[in-house]
């Protein structure tokens, strides 16, 4: 599948929430792939080390993080007002704003704009929201070729895969795999592991694409309500080329990316790249406030901003769940997640993997579809510790577990699919547990009995069987601490 001969854009597997295998089955496939586990481990270790070096001073980190969290929380507290202010400022600056309630709406709007401009060749900067919309597939189905210009996105587009990380989409691949893929797809490029040679080859191909593109599509890191400015950060210059070279620029973002003031941007930019890749700043910081003005030599003639809801309003409506929307997509939670390091990004079955995916995806797709994700965590809090905007990820995971397991029936549940994961047997276990642990009389008798006979529980008992697959069984002590403390004469009141 040489790039030069691709008819209508590369073939990308249907990236919709996978209805087939669930998280556990996908994780199994990843766990038995030692190469994949090594790739993730090595990459995550490097990222954690680089981030830690950036935030070596805990006092400075705490202060900066507080500012970042405040900026995001303040923006969300006024979200509806700020979105209107953003729309008005953008319109005054010449940027056309479109509202998309669903991904179908979003795709239709993008297609409509492209058709209006008779655009057939599109070059894309990195945009997770466009991944969420499965935009490339939609455009391909309508005869429009969208080429990813971020090197990582370009690589996975060639491979026909989905991103495995929100910042480094092809982090699951090692150098040999990338070298093989590029050698097979770029004419004239032999197999080489020389990174400079690989990058130069990709750049050669992509430069032609930039020059030929009818339109550029990008994401947005922050949209400033006060000034109508779209902030876009990147390292490869592809974001700048995508947003300045073609005559048409379409920016796509979720409604939560708005911030109040331009003053909010410096602390957020001090947090984002350092949290993400351990860089003090990205190579490019683009601030787009209007299309090309009369007398200017470059920039697109038309700029459109698409604000996608796709379930975010519902997340916003709940005071606790709203904190999910603070996310600035740095990926630090992913880089520090011990589960992600083992199972990789594709196991999550969604474009947002890792801890942020575990809280965001079930709220957008519904607990009936993605209700297994909130349980894919030990609640170790490694993500909470590094989140630059203080999202209480672990608390939200527990809230989603509660929403999934509660009796269904609320007319307007806070989360789509609430109650869909309720199992009577599980609910019964917790009822019994409650009686045993809330009633001392029962508790004393039950634990005394268990301490004595627990070691005779058959090894094939369901929980024990899962436990002993790679561990020996726990040894019941014979007598409880309650008994031994009483016997030792320790005061009990």
């Amino acid at each position: 599948m040489a790039l030069e001969t691709m008819p209508d854009g590369p073939v990308v597997e249907n990236p919709a929430m996978d209805k087939g295998p669930d998280f556990t089955q996908r994780a199994h496939a990843a766990l038995i792939d030692p190469g994949l586990r090594r790739n993730f481990r090595r990459a995550m270790d490097g990222l954690m080390e680089k981030r830690a070096a950036q935030f070596a001073d805990p006092v400075a980190w705490a202060a900066l993080r507080e500012r970042g969290a405040q900026a995001r929380a303040a923006a969300l507290a006024r979200l509806p007002d700020l979105l209107e202010e953003l729309e008005a400022r953008c319109a005054a600056n010449g940027i056309q704003v479109h509202w998309a309630e669903t991904i179908e709406d979003g795709n239709a709007i993008v297609l409509g704009i492209l058709n209006h401009h008779r655009a057939r060749q599109v070059v894309k900067g990195k945009s997770m929201v466009s991944e969420e919309m499965h935009l490339n597939d939609h455009l391909a189905a309508h005869g429009i070729t969208a080429i990813e210009s971020d090197l990582g996105e370009y690589i996975i587009q060639l491979a026909g895969e989905l991103p495995s990380h929100i910042v480094m989409p092809c982090i699951h691949k090692n150098k040999d795999q990338i070298a093989t893929l590029l050698a097979a797809n770029i004419p004239g490029l032999g197999y080489t592991e020389d990174v400079a040679a690989l990058t130069a080859a990709a750049r050669r191909i992509l430069r032609d694409r930039f020059a030929a593109a009818d339109a550029g599509i990008s994401g947005v890191n922050f949209a400033v309500a006060e000034t109508g400015t779209l902030v876009l950060i990147e390292n490869e210059g592809n974001g700048r080329l995508s947003t300045t070279l073609p005559p048409l620029h379409i920016a796509i973002t979720g409604i939560e990316k708005v911030v109040e003031r331009l003053d909010d941007i410096p602390p957020l930019l001090a947090l984002l790249p350092r949290s993400a890749t351990g860089q003090p700043i990205t190579t490019y910081v683009n601030m787009i406030t209007s299309p090309r003005k009369p007398g200017e030599k470059d920039g697109p003639a038309a700029v459109h901003l698409i604000l996608l809801d796709n379930g975010r309003s519902r997340v916003f409506a709940d005071a606790q769940l709203r904190d999910t929307l603070r996310c600035i997509r740095c990926g630090a939670c992913i880089n520090h997640c011990p589960v992600y390091a083992r199972v990789g990004g594709h196991s999550y079955g969604s474009v947002y993997p890792g801890p942020i995916g575990k809280i965001l995806t079930p709220q957008i797709a519904g607990l009936d579809v993605a209700g297994d994700l909130p349980h894919a965590s030990t609640l170790c809090n490694a993500c909470v510790e590094v989140c630059p905007v203080k999202i209480p990820i672990a608390d939200i995971l527990v809230r989603l577990r509660q929403e999934a397991a509660q009796p269904a029936g609320a007319a307007t549940p806070a989360v789509k699919g609430a109650g869909s994961r309720r199992h009577i047997a599980e609910a019964l276990v917790w009822t019994v547990w409650r009686w045993v642990y809330a009633w001392p009389w029962l508790h004393h008798r039950a634990t005394r009995l268990l301490a004595r006979i627990g070691n005779w529980i058959p090894a094939r008992a369901p929980l024990l069987r899962a436990w002993t697959r790679n561990r020996t069984r726990p040894h019941f002590a014979g007598q409880t601490l309650h008994e031994r403390a009483r016997r030792a004469g320790i005061d009990h009141e």
């Binding site: 011990p338 349980h375 809090n381 490694a382 397991a405 409650r434 697959r469 726990p474 601490l481 009990h492």
Partner: protein, 252 residues
């Protein structure tokens, strides 16, 4: 999310034994109480205590969790510190009880209870300023840091400070020391395969230190790690820190 500022040395403390110690590691609970008693404190172990309620809370069964949490609040009534030999159970009671009881009639009581909860090693270091005289044979050990001790109770270096006080003990830090061992309560059985991958890596890191014992302040982690160590047939023992410290000071 942090421990209280240094409280004055109390005459009496409560001891919260935890449900895992109650059934599987009572010797760790007794050792914890003995360490406190040796320092001249009166230790009270209320017989009506049971579980911090974290298992139900983390599974999303909040009503059930509240019922059990309420039993603890009603049991530990005196205004004494509640010393807990587990960062995880302490984290549940200290950081999550206030939210669990928000909007409930006993919310204020839950907050007051939460404010009295302290983790054992933190208490030994910061309140008792304990001095340990090691009487044991030379030994090399490694430390497993519990996620909730570190990230909910702010207990990071205290256990290692205690281990470093022991003249015959060489402490070797394991790679990825602060990474989760994969226990996670029901996670260990609900996602057994991922948990297995996590604990196997943890055991490999521990074995690389050459230590003959792994010490931890949380019996959940310990049950997970020693279960995997034993299954792999490695000659490393696991000890709760209270039990280990007491053994060393008795010259065992």
């Amino acid at each position: 999310m942090s421990q209280p500022s240094r409280p004055s040395r109390p005459e009496t403390v409560y001891f919260f034994g935890t449900c895992l110690i109650d059934l599987f590691y009572p010797q760790a609970g007794l050792a914890g109480m003995e360490l406190l008693r040796r320092e001249g404190l009166r230790v009270v172990f209320p017989q009506n205590q049971s579980c911090c309620a974290q298992p139900a809370r983390n599974s999303g069964y909040l009503d059930e969790a509240r019922a059990v949490a309420r039993r603890q609040i009603e049991t530990f009534v005196e205004d004494w510190p509640i010393v807990v030999p587990s960062g995880s159970c302490a984290g549940m009671m200290r950081t999550h009880y206030p939210a669990l009881f928000e909007g409930q009639p006993d919310a204020e009581r839950a907050r007051a209870f939460a404010g009295r909860v302290v983790e054992l090693t933190w208490f030994l270091v910061h309140v008792l300023d304990i001095r340990l005289a090691d009487k044991g044979e030379p030994v090399t050990v490694t430390w497993h840091a519990s996620c909730h001790a570190m990230r909910e109770m702010g207990v990071r270096d205290e256990p290692k400070q205690l281990l470093r006080q022991l003249s015959g003990v060489t402490l070797v830090e394991a790679g990825h020391e602060t990474e989760c061992c994969g226990f996670g309560g029901t996670f260990a059985v609900r996602h057994a395969e991922i948990a297995a991958a996590m604990v196997d890596d943890k055991v490999t890191s521990i074995a690389r230190t050459g230590a003959s014992a792994v010490i931890s302040g949380d019996c959940g982690c310990l049950m997970n790690i020693t279960g995997a160590i034993d299954k792999a047939g490695r000659p490393i023992v696991g000890r709760h820190i209270a039990e280990f410290l007491l053994e060393r000071c008795h010259g065992a």
